[in-house]
Symmetry: C2
Subunit: 223 residues, 2 copies
Amino acid sequence: MGPVRWQVVAVAAVGLALTLEVLPSVLRWLRAGRRRRRPRRQVLFFPSQVTCTEALLQAPGVAPSGSGCPCSLPHGESSLSQLLRALLAARASLELCLFAFSSPQLGRAVELLHQRGVRVRVITDCDYMALNGSQIGLLRKAGIQVRHDQDLGYMHHKFAVVDKKVLITGSLNWTTQAIQNNRENVLITEDEEYVRLFLEEFERIWEEFDPTKYSFFPQKRRH
Amino acid sequence: MGPVRWQVVAVAAVGLALTLEVLPSVLRWLRAGRRRRRPRRQVLFFPSQVTCTEALLQAPGVAPSGSGCPCSLPHGESSLSQLLRALLAARASLELCLFAFSSPQLGRAVELLHQRGVRVRVITDCDYMALNGSQIGLLRKAGIQVRHDQDLGYMHHKFAVVDKKVLITGSLNWTTQAIQNNRENVLITEDEEYVRLFLEEFERIWEEFDPTKYSFFPQKRRH
C-alpha cells in the first residue's frame, strides 16, 4: 500500500469506530427523548366547576348517555371530571391513601374500578371512617380492602397511585365541600421517582395498619 | 484509483458523515443529562423526628452554636430540618400559601428571611389567622404582607415557592401537631412547569384577596 492509501484507511477506521461508539448513546438519547415527552405532568386547581359526571360514571353494560344526559348541569370538563378520568384510567391496581373520603362521585369511580377487576386498596383515618356521608362503609360493603390508623395523629395523606405508574397527590380531601368550595391543588405525575416514593410509603403504612396489629384486639395480640 | 481504494474512500466518507451527523446530538444528549440530574426532586414524609433546629435558626450576627447546642434533643437531620433548609435557601422571594401556620420553627425561618431582605408574601385562610399559636400575627408585626380569603370555602393550599424556582407543596399544614404526629407528605420540586402553575395560582389569589376588595369594608367598595 502507498502512503495515501494508509491515510484513507486510517480515516475510515476512525470514522467507523466513532460511529459505532456513539450510536448506542444516540439511540438511548432518542428513546429517552420519547420517554421524557410522554410523562404526564398536570395540576388541577379547585374549587371545581360543578359539571355533570353521569357519562363518566356509567356502570358497565349501560348504554352511555353521553351529552344526551337531560340534567341541567354543564356537560364540559372540570377539575373534578379530570380527576375522575385520571382514576378511571386504572386497569390493574389503585392504591388510595386518604384522610377523608365522602365525595359520592369519587366513591362511585372507585366502586366501578373494583367491579372491573382493578385491585383497590384503601388506607384512611379512623376518625373519618364512619362520618356522615363517608364512602368508606360503602366501599367495604362492595368488598374493597380498607385499613386505618389507630393513632392520635391523623393519617393526613391525600394521594392515589394508578397502576403503579401515575401519582395523584395534593391538598384535596375527597369531599364535596372541598371539591366545590375550597382552594385546593392536585398534582398528577408519572415521574418514576415520586411514584416509587409514594408507593413505598403506602406499603409501609399498609403493613403497619394490618388489622392483626390493632391494639383494640388485645386478646389477639397476646397470642 | 483501483477498486479496493474506492471502497476504502467510500467507507471513510460514510464514517465521517455519520460521525458529523450524530456529534451534535451526542453533545446535546450529554448536556441534557447534566441538566436532568440537577433539578431537585424530593419527598419529605412526616411525622418528623423531633430534632434541635437552633443552629439552623440563628439570627444573623449570632455565633452559630452548631452541634455545641446543649439541649437534650437529637441534633441530626429530620423532615422538619430539611423543610427549614429548603425555605432558608431563599435569596430573593418567598411566596407562602398556607391554610394553617402555627409552627414556631417555620415562623422563625420566615421571619429570618424577611430580616435578610427576602420579599415574603403570605396568603392564608381567615379562620386560622388569629387562632391560638398562629404565626400570622407575628409575621404581620414583623412587617410581612399577609392576605386572606373571606369566603365560606377554605383557602386549603399548603405550598411555598422559593426564589420563583423551587415549589414546596403537599398535605402538611405548618403546625407542630401535623409535623410531629400526622402522616404527611411534602414534595420539593424544581420542575419548571409545576413551579409556573403554582406561581400563577398564587398571583391569581393574591390579586383576588387584595384588601381593597374585602367586603367587610363596604364604604371603601362604594368609592
